[in-house]
Amino acid sequence: MTRFLPHPLLSLVLLVVWLLLNNTIAAGHILLGGILALVIPLLTTPLQKNHPPLRRPLLAVKYLFVLMWDIILSNIEVAIQVMGPLRKLTPGFIAVPLDMTADLPITLLASSISLTPGTVSVEVSKDHQWLYVHVLNLKNEAETIQSIKQRYEKPLKEIFAC
């Protein structure tokens, strides 16, 4: 089973995306998508690193909604900052200490930080202990770091159980 279907979740996602892109559920496309969903994971398995497994899928869904809500809220905030007087803006760099070391959760954390307006992740230290972030309007450094850790890192740690 594992020989022919190394990543069942990836295969399912590939099939669903194929059907969504073609906007159809015709039998021919299900067959073609099924073949692609079987062959692509087999071809790409040698390229993949071992990722920590997804432990709490429900929490991942909740995380997605929290993230979307944050994107909407902070988009409005950044819109006001961009249109307002720029002299008041104090941009700055912060270094966020990380509690997790695996590649995938750090990538997701960095992407979440970049997606929410007002912050862009810039660089991660080689030992995976620090994430450098540029903040558009840095008021309270400790508070910003704390909110990133509390809002994004904590659920990610629980989702991947690392």
Partner: protein, 127 residues
């Protein structure tokens, strides 16, 4: 088409294009590379998101069958946008692009460039 859905589509289109415009204005107005990066990468998430949801809603109602292509586009956008932003800010950092004067914690750029841990703030040498 239902008046309610029509109003919703109009609202989503207006809000989406509004955020896209704010993003472009931000790109022109903000003072340095790092702050400029914030405007366009962010506008793409909510601005394009709004336009795509409006399109999905409109074509789901107008044409037979659901139109869910837009959701896939949103998904791809949400995967690629932060990576582009990260690559650009990383490149700027390693090319030693100067941020504007009043940027706080500029001393963090040095350890970030070397991908090392920041120097401890409690260090008596730095205070």
């Amino acid at each position: 088409m239902n008046v309610f859905i029509e109003a919703l589509v109009i609202f989503l289109l207006l809000a989406g294009s509004g955020f896209l415009m704010v993003g472009s204005i931000g790109l022109a107005r903000l003072p340095d590379f790092f702050t400029r990066l914030h405007a366009p990468t962010k506008a793409s998430t909510l601005g394009i998101g709004g336009v795509l949801i409006a399109s999905s809603l409109y074509f789901s109602v107008e044409l037979p069958g659901l139109s869910v292509k837009e959701l896939v586009i949103t998904l791809f956008l949400f995967i690629t946008a932060p990576i582009t932003a990260h690559m650009m800010s990383k490149a700027a950092m390693h090319h030693q692009r100067k941020p504007i004067e009043r940027t706080r914690n500029m001393d963090l750029m040095k350890p970030a460039r070397r991908r090392k841990a920041p120097v401890d703030n409690q260090n008596p040498k730095s205070s």
